[in-house]
């Protein structure tokens, strides 16, 4: 059962990612990215990481994707225009991609453990993660909160209406 669920959600995940690349219109890509996020949350649940799964759904599938869809609607971005692919990209890109894929496959086969990850016995209750977050990782947590604050201010400054010629009107 565990294996079947893993394979199903993994297939949905990779298919959504492929669809993201194939679709021409950004809104279709955004919706397939939502599918990827949702099936990844299911994979986290299968791994027993219930808190990370909840955060994935709320933050990624909820907040971040709403931001993406909002910007796509705002910019009214239509279908992507195609350009002729460059020869250099074909000559170097395809062998490069093959070499990279083989390298990743080799690393995975040679260096990964084959320890079985059994289902059940969820190791990631929110209580334990919260304790780790506010005890062992307190400083990174606070630094991250400052980072998010700076990101909010940066986004507001970047996306705000441009100042008129005589300086900002406050």
């Amino acid at each position: 059962m565990h294996l079947i669920l893993f394979l199903a959600f993994g297939a949905v995940c990779v298919a959504g990612a492929v669809n993201l690349l194939v679709q021409k219109h950004p809104i279709n890509s955004a919706l397939s990215l939502v599918v990827v996020m949702g099936s990844l949350a299911a994979e986290y649940l299968l791994l027993g990481a219930e808190f990370v799964a909840a955060v994935q759904v709320i933050v990624y599938a909820g907040a971040v994707m709403v931001l993406f869809v909002f910007v796509i609607m705002l910019l009214n971005a239509g279908e992507e225009e195609e350009t002729k692919g460059s020869r250099v990209a074909m000559i170097f890109g395809i062998p490069g991609m093959l070499v990279g894929s083989l390298l990743i496959a080799w690393v995975l086969i040679e260096h990964s453990g084959n320890k079985s990850l059994a289902a059940g016995a969820l190791p990631g209750p929110p209580k334990t993660i919260g304790w780790l977050l506010f005890h062992d990782y307190l400083l990174p947590f606070e630094v991250t909160s400052v980072l998010v604050l700076i990101a909010i201010m940066g986004a507001v400054v970047l996306a705000a209406a441009p100042a008129s010629a005589g300086g900002r009107k406050d």
């Binding site: 690349l21 808190f51 910019l75 993660i129 780790l132």
Partner: protein
């Protein structure tokens, strides 16, 4: 039935990572490039959570940090995109040359 190993999750994560890299390298639309970056970050998260199954909960805490940073990155990236669109009326990556000398 064969048990699921760490390798299974690593293969899914590697597939997501490669698809994200292909998206970053081949698409023209900046929005889709940002979404491919999210795909890469998600692949990293899947790896972290899969390893946390073996090595304790620290991987899950790191995954939460990565999710937070991805949200911040998306906000700033889309803000830059809006500011850029206001100047050039385009979202094509190859027309982003405001800093070119």
């Amino acid at each position: 039935m064969a048990p699921i190993t760490t390798l299974h999750y690593l293969v899914v994560a590697a597939a997501l990572f490669i698809l994200g890299v292909i998206g970053v390298l081949t698409r023209r639309n900046v929005v889709i490039i940002l979404m491919s970056i999210e795909l890469i970050l998600n692949a990293v998260n899947l790896n972290l959570v899969a390893f946390s199954r073996m090595w304790g909960l620290h991987g899950q805490v790191f995954a939460i940090f990565v999710i937070t940073d991805a949200a911040a990155e998306a906000a700033v990236g889309l803000g830059i995109l809006i500011a850029f669109f206001r100047n050039k009326e385009t979202v094509n990556m190859d027309e982003v040359d405001l800093l070119k000398w």
